[in-house]
Symmetry: C2
Subunit: 352 residues, 2 copies
């Protein structure tokens, strides 16, 4: 505490990202990064950016990137918003659409940053319990007071809700914004983007950090009707005129121009995920059916925090959440085939 802090600052419990250790080289399966490098076209585009022009501000309207996204998803430019990672966009969206006097809903087990945004913008929250199998009871999101946030696939459970099942949530919240956070949608799910023309209350948020291997470049985007995009722009332009730098803008455009690479690398991640899932089940793990680039696992006879430590000791970093209901689970990002073989081998030594 400090006498200089606002009451808000003192009240916050900030988000803690997965560790980025500097002490040694790990097999890093803890922050859902893509094991493959970005498209070679991104590399070329970055080389093509004039270093002399870094003296100039980037385009505050991010026109080139917005048009590339609009083309990719068959939307209009005014249905697209871009930002410094999807986290920044989610923060803007909480400010733009949610209010301190109307409770929003999200799952009890989901991306833990949502609760932090709610604190930051002082938005009351009703947390909807997932069922025993971590399925989402969609009807519990009907008639929300202030809005809805659903991660699909969910994190850290990896579970996917078929997109047509989301229609009912949108229909039962006609005056509230429903945010579908699709950070992991490209690993086997179908996007809710196709519903945007039918539901003006739908905001779909995606990121280039996972399926486009650009976590280090910080690019997220949101798609929705023009009023929602204008709302996001009002907040953004009251905060920072230039959230994406010249290199990020160029890299993002180039990534969208190499659809073949995107499909190939995502297919590899999916294939490795399925192999990993089968191996884990052979070792006695319960593994959720995943549509993400990670798996969520538990073992009937092994304590998760001890497994986490034993893996770490063997140079494999995974994510352990010391939270109610999921403190016997581990979230394991999908790496290369070689990394996952090493991970399985380490587990065999531990549980074998």
């Amino acid at each position: 505490m400090s006498k200089f802090w606002s009451e808000l600052t003192a009240s916050l419990t900030p988000y803690v990202p997965g560790e980025q250790p500097k002490d040694q080289k790990y097999i890093k399966l803890n922050t859902n990064e893509n094991p493959y490098p970005p498209s070679p076209s991104v590399v070329e585009a970055l080389k093509g950016v004039s270093h002399a022009d870094l003296r100039l501000y980037p385009d505050p309207t991010c026109e080139s990137l917005i048009h590339a996204i609009a083309d990719r998803y068959d939307l209009q430019a005014d249905q697209i918003f871009v930002g410094n990672g999807s986290d920044e966009i989610l923060a803007f969206a909480f400010a733009a659409f949610f209010s301190p006097n109307r409770a929003i809903r999200f799952a009890d087990i989901t991306y833990s940053f949502y609760q932090v945004y709610a604190q930051l913008y002082q938005v009351p929250v009703e947390r909807v319990p997932l069922d025993e199998a971590f399925n989402t009871p969609l009807e519990r999101f009907y008639y929300s007071e202030g809005g809805v946030v659903i991660a699909n696939p969910n994190a850290p459970t990896s579970k996917y809700i078929p997109v047509d099942e989301l229609r009912a949530v949108l229909e039962h919240n006609p005056d509230q914004v429903v945010i579908i956070d699709e950070a992991y949608i490209d690993f086997g799910g179908e996007s809710a983007v196709k519903l945007i023309s039918s539901y003006p209350n739908l905001l779909v948020v995606q990121t280039m950090s996972k399926s486009r291997s650009l976590a280090g470049l910080r690019i997220g985007y949101a798609m929705g009707n023009q009023e929602l995009i204008e709302g996001l722009n009002r907040i953004k332009n009251s905060f920072n005129s230039y959230t994406l730098d010249r290199l990020a803008l160029a890299g993002g455009v180039a990534s969208l121009q190499d659809e073949a690479y995107f499909e190939t690398t995502n297919a590899r991640v999916i294939q490795t995920r399925e192999w990993t899932t089968a191996q884990l089940r052979t070792l006695g793990f319960d593994v959720m059916d995943s549509k993400a680039n990670f798996v969520f696992i538990t073992h009937p006879n092994q304590d998760a925090s001890q497994l986490f430590q034993a893996l770490r000791h063997r140079g494999v970093l995974v994510r352990f959440f010391n939270q109610p209901r999921i403190d016997q689970f581990l979230r394991v990002s999908i790496g290369t085939d070689e990394e996952m073989q090493a991970f399985i081998q380490a587990l065999k030594e531990i549980v074998g």
Copy 2:
């Protein structure tokens, strides 16, 4: 208006940055960009970043950049905060240190984003009128209720307050945070950084966008006592874990390692500013004594908005603010010698 917007969103009047025209090539003297490219060491550092590693998140603690800044200013790492441009840091600072129930003070003529942040975080404001010559009546900032923001040099006036005169403001606000926004300090002013050890309520905010020619890379930083830095981190970590991408981090570190280039280019800007000032006075303009990389000018017989249009017509973009007290002034960024010669030549044709 939209039924989906929060009351906050509807209430905002967002900031409008200087235009970044795409229609033709202008002599661009409207957004205070540096006319010289960034240091060659920045270019080398950017080439050295592993493109493959862009798949990985950047260091959320920005350790390398923070240490480089700490070394440069002879501070400790925990006295430094970095962000996506100084605008983002100012936004975080308003949230971290100012409150909806305590009025803060800043000048009636100053960086117009301050008023926008105050709206965004619903902080009441008492605007302190500058005197007729646009000098800052510092005693009017004593005993503020909620805090103080002073741009030094001020924008758009270009006027500099000798740093030792700021001590009295800090001493008369012992329980309030005093933000000194030094976006333009490197063009001839002395930084308030030297006061940090004496005043725990002082936050100094700087940027690499101007004097380090990195507007396109988005790097700002704040310096102050540990409690203030921790407050900023609490807000940042409740908003976005990774605000600086891998390329920005590498470029920022490299810029700080080339002090000679920094000093040489700033000296050139200052020299060109003094030449421009003398020429403008010959043409009958009133020119404020500037310690920034821009000049603030008015002409007794020429309407500023007409001058703005006439310059634009001749391919020279400057900044005109259609606001009370300054609607007969133009803010003109300092370009290269050649650009300023062209600017003076255009003015000769217009006013001559």
